[in-house]
Amino acid sequence: MANKENPTETAATPIITLRHVDKHFGQLHVLNDINLSVKKGEVVVIIGPSGSGKSTLCRTINRLETVDAGEIMIDGVAMPQEGRHLAEIRAQVGMVFQAFNLFAHKTILDNVTIGPIDVLHKPKKEAREEAMQLLKRVGVDQQAAKVPAQLSGGQQQRVAIARALAMHPKAILFDEPTSALDPEMIGEVLDVMTKLAADGMTMVIVTHEMNFARQVADRIIFMDAGSILEENTPEQFFTHPRTQRAQDFLNSIKNH
């Protein structure tokens, strides 16, 4: 509480900063002058119609997508285009993918420990113990010795979240984490994410789950055609969006 009155704390550097980020795929302008900053502990949900560039934006934050222009900073440090320094900064930002992307040839436990062992050079024993705790936290510790193909999609995605958490990231990016899941498995993944948000994790989430977005987001970002059209609180956005495009989008999904 005392920290809140401390001026240096209120002026703290955002965890994620994007400045004038531009990207083209050929003729297509996929990201058009994107400016975004995410504070520590903030949950930002990006929504928008498909092809609006929201996934690309999410992947751009740890430079899985290259950009044509603009600056990306993580915790005040500019991200280089490539090299050792880029890897070091990537290690500070977790990522959860639509297709889970668990390492298919490794056990669940090894999937979670490889980051801490290979990148953070943690002792194996310590990494394993922590990984087991994380797997327990997401409810898949019983599956630790299996390989990813033996798990359900929902379980795999929860392992992927544990894998990201094992790196003690400053933020986690979620790129449509439930889009590849059967309906009955979406809930278990969203529950884990809701808990993470409540624990104060900084999160950027691309999703089509509007109820979840409304419930968990501190801020909604609405994108279309490569631009951020609206930034708003969830309450404001879902009841009185400022832009007509957002209103149209919300109407179109309500009809389903």
């Binding site: 890897a87 990537r90 290690a91 500070q92 993918f97 992307n101 390492f103 193909a149």
Partner: protein, 193 residues
């Protein structure tokens, strides 16, 4: 193999030329090179190396291409996930991509191994005493053409069968699903060239 998927353009071109050359030239031609041409340049090899070197060279190109196809078959998401953990490029390749690629291509590699084994029958060209050479000696000494050929064929089949079994066991130990192994067995059971 690494050259062809690497970042350096020059290395890619060089590797492609090398691979296409070793793949495109028949093994027998390489054998004649080592047997007849190499000694002219002062390269004197034993009969064993005169057969081993050309067979190895012509297999190398095929193996390189096979491994490359395996690497390309590993989903891009595997690389992205590893990069997002902060792994360096080299570690991503050797710890994540290559182990999976290798498992994909075990069947194809075994097929190539079978071809290599059968290529060793070219040893008669360099007068090295391989299995075929020995059976020919037997035939001329005992006048038992058919039975000796049958026994020789049987020995080759047994060796190839064992290679296949070993590969399946290896693949199983590496945690490849049974269905993939079954597919691969169907692929390598084809002994015809």
């Amino acid at each position: 193999m690494l050259g062809r998927i690497g970042k350096s353009r020059a290395m890619r071109i060089l590797s492609t030329i090398l691979i296409e050359f070793t793949r495109g030239v028949p093994t027998l031609l390489f054998i004649y090179f080592f047997l007849l041409t190499a000694p002219q340049f002062g390269l004197k090899l034993s009969a064993f190396w005169k057969i081993t070197a050309p067979v190895a060279i012509s297999a190398a190109g095929v193996v390189a291409e096979t491994l490359r196809s395996g690497v390309n078959a590993v989903p891009k998401g595997q690389t992205e996930a590893a990069l997002s953990l902060g792994m360096r490029d080299g570690h991503v390749f050797f710890k994540i991509v290559f182990p999976q690629a290798f498992r994909y291509v075990i069947p194809a590699l075994i097929s190539e191994l079978v071809i290599v084994l059968k290529d060793t029958t070219f040893a008669y060209v360099v007068n090295y005493a391989d299995l075929m050479q020995n059976s020919r000696v037997l035939i001329s000494n005992h006048d038992a053409l058919l039975s000796v050929y049958l026994v020789t064929a049987l020995i080759y089949i047994v060796i190839n069968f064992l290679l296949n079994k070993i590969s399946v066991a290896l693949a199983g130990r590496n945690g490849i699903p049974q269905s993939v192994i079954r597919q691969s067995q169907e692929g390598t059971d084809n002994y015809g060239k």
